[in-house]
């Protein structure tokens, strides 16, 4: 499990608030739309949601140079 597509999916939900919101609303649907495997979709459905929001905020601050 995991692939370049899985890493690309993670990168997108880390930096794009809309993609992140759509993902959190239905992780399995968004994983399928991205062409990820069922196993990858299940892994994403179990994501550390608190950590996702904190990491996304931290990455945003880094990109802003703070």
């Amino acid at each position: 499990m995991t692939s370049p597509a899985f890493e690309a999916f993670l990168a997108r939900i880390y930096v794009d608030p809309q993609a992140r919101a759509e993902f959190l609303a239905d992780p399995r649907r968004e994983a399928r739309k991205a062409g990820l495997s069922d196993a990858e979709g299940e892994a994403l459905a179990a994501i550390d949601r608190k950590g996702l929001e904190m990491a996304a905020a931290s990455f945003k601050a880094k990109r802003a140079g703070r």
């Binding site: 499990m1 995991t2 692939s3 370049p4 597509a5 899985f6 890493e7 690309a8 999916f9 993670l10 990168a11 997108r12 880390y14 930096v15 794009d16 990858e40 892994a43 994403l44 179990a46 994501i47 550390d48 608190k50 950590g51 996702l52 904190m54 990491a55 931290s58 990455f59 945003k60 880094k62 990109r63």
Partner: protein, 275 residues
């Protein structure tokens, strides 16, 4: 006599303090990426620094811990800098930093599984062939428990180190942060990784935001010095210890005092090992 070295990360804001205290700084770590496209004068200044103090290079944008092949153009920039400076070592992170054309802007923890072990080892091998030196690879702090993992952090790191032949740059604040954030014992982590392969150590500080954030803006906390002593008690090889500070800069004496405290922690650990 110990051959451990203790030094500081180079930042322009610290330049004067570093250059006037080289008798108390054994080694200087420079962010390589700051010099990839730098004008000749900036690289010349770095050569001047390397003539005055041992310099090691630290990369932040290669993203080698990935199932995606490393970018040869980016690696060639590191190769040119290594050729120019001929440092004793260079390092990168056990992180991915981009995916599908999206730049994350910082170090992200990849899924910890066999695919990323293999991808990272392949990228380390590419880096070794292009640059002529194997990078030491650094454990990263993460605020998110990365999805898609099948391996513990210690097992994932150990497999990469043992399979690739790289050394480990062990960031003890990153270890502390992850241990607090995800509820494991950092001393047991040290028991599970090949401490004999640690060549370099990073020390830093952070703050609590609901989890520990590794921000490099604060002093090194006590548990990190304790971990340095624990590592020194487990490892017989010389260690290069670097204090990282990225902002909220205090007076240089304040940072030098932290280097002295690191030396004391190393000495205490070495003494325990010898006992």
């Amino acid at each position: 006599m110990s051959r451990d070295r203790v030094g500081l990360s180079w930042r322009p804001q610290l330049a004067a303090g570093i250059l006037t205290n080289l008798d108390r700084i054994d080694v200087v770590e420079v962010i390589a990426d700051d010099y990839f496209d730098a004008p000749r004068s900036k690289t010349a200044a770095l050569r001047t620094l390397s003539a005055q103090a041992p310099v090691v290079l630290h990369g932040i944008t290669q993203g080698l811990a990935s199932t995606v092949a490393a970018d040869p153009k980016r690696l060639s920039k590191m190769a040119r800098l290594v050729e120019t400076l001929r440092p004793a070592s260079w390092s990168e992170h056990l992180a991915f930093v981009r995916g599908g054309g999206v730049e994350i802007g910082h170090l992200a923890a990849p899924p910890r599984n066999g695919a990323t072990v293999d991808g990272c080892c392949a990228n380390i091998d590419t880096a070794r062939r292009m640059i002529g030196m194997t990078p030491a690879m650094e454990n990263i702090a993460t605020l998110i428990d990365p999805p898609g993992g099948t391996l513990s952090e210690s097992s994932w790191i150990s497999q990469i180190v043992l399979n690739s032949g790289c050394d480990l740059l062990l960031d003890l604040h990153n270890l502390h942060a992850n241990a607090v954030n995800f509820g494991y014992d950092p001393n047991e982590f040290l028991d599970r990784i090949p401490c004999s392969r640690v060549s370099t150590v990073h020390l830093a500080g952070g703050r609590w935001i609901g989890r520990v954030l590794d921000d490099h803006l604060h002093d090194v906390p006590d548990p990190v010095y304790d971990l340095l002593g624990e590592l020194a008690a487990r490892a017989s090889q010389p260690l290069t210890v670097i204090l990282e500070r990225d902002g909220a800069y205090p007076r240089i004496e304040h940072l030098l005092a932290q280097l002295d405290r690191a030396r004391a922690a190393l000495a205490a650990g070495r003494h325990r090992r010898a006992a």
